[in-house]
Subunit: 370 residues, 2 copies
């Protein structure tokens, strides 16, 4: 795509009966996303400068077409404007999917991307080559003491990152401050016993009004990373927070799934693989194929690829495969995705009668890849 | 639904072959949205306290079912947690639609809702009973002077709210500060000539880092309202900003359309009609049936209904019908939706050879309903 290098590129896939219809529809997108009015009423110089340009138009399967539309970067000097340009009003059309996007180098450089990235998280965890193992403490409803006990057991079993379940917030069952203090202390205790370096990542997703106060508690507890759901806290805020580089961030896909429909929305590899990385996720949790959610293997492969592929000066981010990963298939997934991977395994451990034993065995298996 | 009055209610619609399958799927949602792990591993008291409860399960058309699931309000003491509870992981399932939701009174009271609402916007505009007419200045790419000239012409023609197109942000063609100053002055000038009270609402949607500075300019220019796209600026931030009550807010649906698919996502009347109102929109722009976007009349009717129906202490908000409303059908839409309505008409005016004349005629038509 180098030939359009100074423009923003968006790749859309959509249904159309033939090339002429596809061209009309691509034109409709290009107009809707920019001037959003009858072209006849747009002054010539403005039309030339700002209406999206159809750069390519190709068949993409049965009655599906793929159009590359390029946009003038001046239209998207800020993140909300970029989101609006790529998929704002198009989101209200039918059967249109943003399959990919690319930013010109000057615009790409305005994004900090992952402050830690794969290397940064490896540095924190002390695992230099092998995949990392992550497990969630849950369910919501347990006391801080009970959650801390789970954190202790996971860390002692050899889990690298013990994270809060994303449903854990500020609830009376286990108040945030108490939970973070107890869980981080529990993980430290396990580390003293094992000589290892497990990390505890609390869930910072919550009211923006409370974030600074909670971050203070996260810092005081010595936590080096957090869980954050970009679609729940807002993408621009997420980006700004990530750019501060204070804590490593595992991004959670909650509330993002509606975008990732088969024939409408934003392709998973564009949303989780590119956008979430661009905004500063050091690791991105995605629902893995074969788990609880109906996702294709091809999408998961593409997410993992996009998170790690060279992209401007952006650090690569960890693919974090979750959503029902079976502990017994760990080797399969490591061989499929490679060792720059975080395996997020919780349910299939909890389902075992002796979850500590199961976690221990899984951690041992993951450690063989060092 | 009063019998479950102290719990959060979510109404989901989904596909299932028979009642047993529907019950299994509803149970899967109730578990996924709360404990998110095998029930066998959840301690009994926690299961009792936090797992969602299936309150009703009814057929909803051919192979579609509707389940009312109730949740413990303690799970959602903050907006991001509420979004997560209602449609977090469910968003990654397939063919599930959040059709409606209801909050218990105590939780509902934590939301400020519209600070101005219909009455507030009527007070600002001086139009006490009739529908209001809104038009957008566009396209992006015009100079601030050209945009101000459009604002002047619309206001002189009798348009009540002249708003920025939502693609207008901070671009070199017409810098925000310059645009806001010129456009508000242009509308004031028109008001001096007509003796009317047209309002100018600039688009505040943009980088959160810049919002306070831009708001200062909005205030300095004397603007009493703004355009904001909740999905682009983030829902929690949107809510916090709206609660300050400084300016009236027209909410724009950009980037929200992927949620509003026919068989997956969040029903338009729940997303635009309830959530956007809950978060403090004084008016909510929706793509109207028969316009440029593929939306059903039933959805539009339901959005308009939900925005204005009594709901706790929340003020009613204006339905703002847009997205290709034809000026010639103004009376039809006013009769359909009633006079507590903002008609957003732009493209069908721009498409006319003499758009000022067209705007004038439309404004006259709308004024007959006073």
């Amino acid at each position: 795509m180098a030939e359009f290098g100074d423009r923003i590129l968006a790749v859309y896939e959509f249904a159309a009966s033939d090339r002429a219809a596809a061209r009309r529809f691509a034109k409709q997108i290009a107009v809707e996303q920019t001037v959003e009015m009858p072209l006849s009423a747009v002054p010539g110089p403005v039309r030339q400068a700002v209406v999206g340009r159809i750069e390519e138009l190709e068949p993409a399967g049965s009655r599906r077409w793929r159009a590359v539309i390029s946009y003038e970067p001046e239209l998207a000097t800020e993140l909300p404007a970029l989101l609006n340009l790529l998929f704002g009003n198009v989101s209200m059309m039918s059967g249109v999917r943003l399959a990919d996007f690319e930013l010109p180098p000057a615009l790409l450089r305005t994004f900090t991307g992952p402050a830690f990235g794969i290397e940064g998280i490896r540095r924190l965890s002390g695992a230099h080559r092998r995949p990392l193992l992550c497990s969630a403490i849950k369910p919501v409803g347990l006391s801080a003491e009970q959650l801390a006990d789970l954190a202790y057991r996971f860390a002692r079993a050899g889990v690298d990152i013990v994270k809060d379940d994303h449903g854990l917030g500020e609830q009376s069952y286990a108040a945030f401050a108490d939970r973070v203090e107890r869980c981080s202390e529990a993980v430290r205790k396990a580390n003293r016993e094992t000589g290892r370096n497990a990390l505890y990542f609390p869930n910072l997703t919550g009211s923006l009004a409370a974030v600074e106060e909670r971050l203070e508690k996260v810092r005081a507890a010595g936590c080096r990373g957090v869980l954050l759901a970009p679609m729940l806290v807002g993408l621009d805020w997420f980006q700004t927070f990530a750019a501060r580089g204070e804590v490593a961030i595992l991004a959670h896909p909650s509330f993002s799934g509606a975008y990732m429909q088969r024939s409408h929305g934003i392709a998973p590899q564009a949303l989780l693989g590119k956008l979430f990385r661009l905004l500063g996720s050091d690791g991105v949790i995605f629902a893995n194929a074969g788990g609880r959610f109906p996702v294709s293997q091809a999408s998961c492969d593409a997410i993992a690829l996009n998170l790690r592929v060279p992209w401007g000066d952006l650090r690569p981010a960890f693919p974090v495969a979750g959503g029902g990963v079976d502990a017994r298939r760990a080797d399969y997934w490591i061989e499929r995705y490679g060792t720059d991977l975080v395996l997020l395994v919780s349910s299939s451990l909890y389902a075992r009668r002796d979850f500590e034993r199961a976690a221990f065995e899984l951690a041992e298996r993951v450690r063989r890849y060092e």
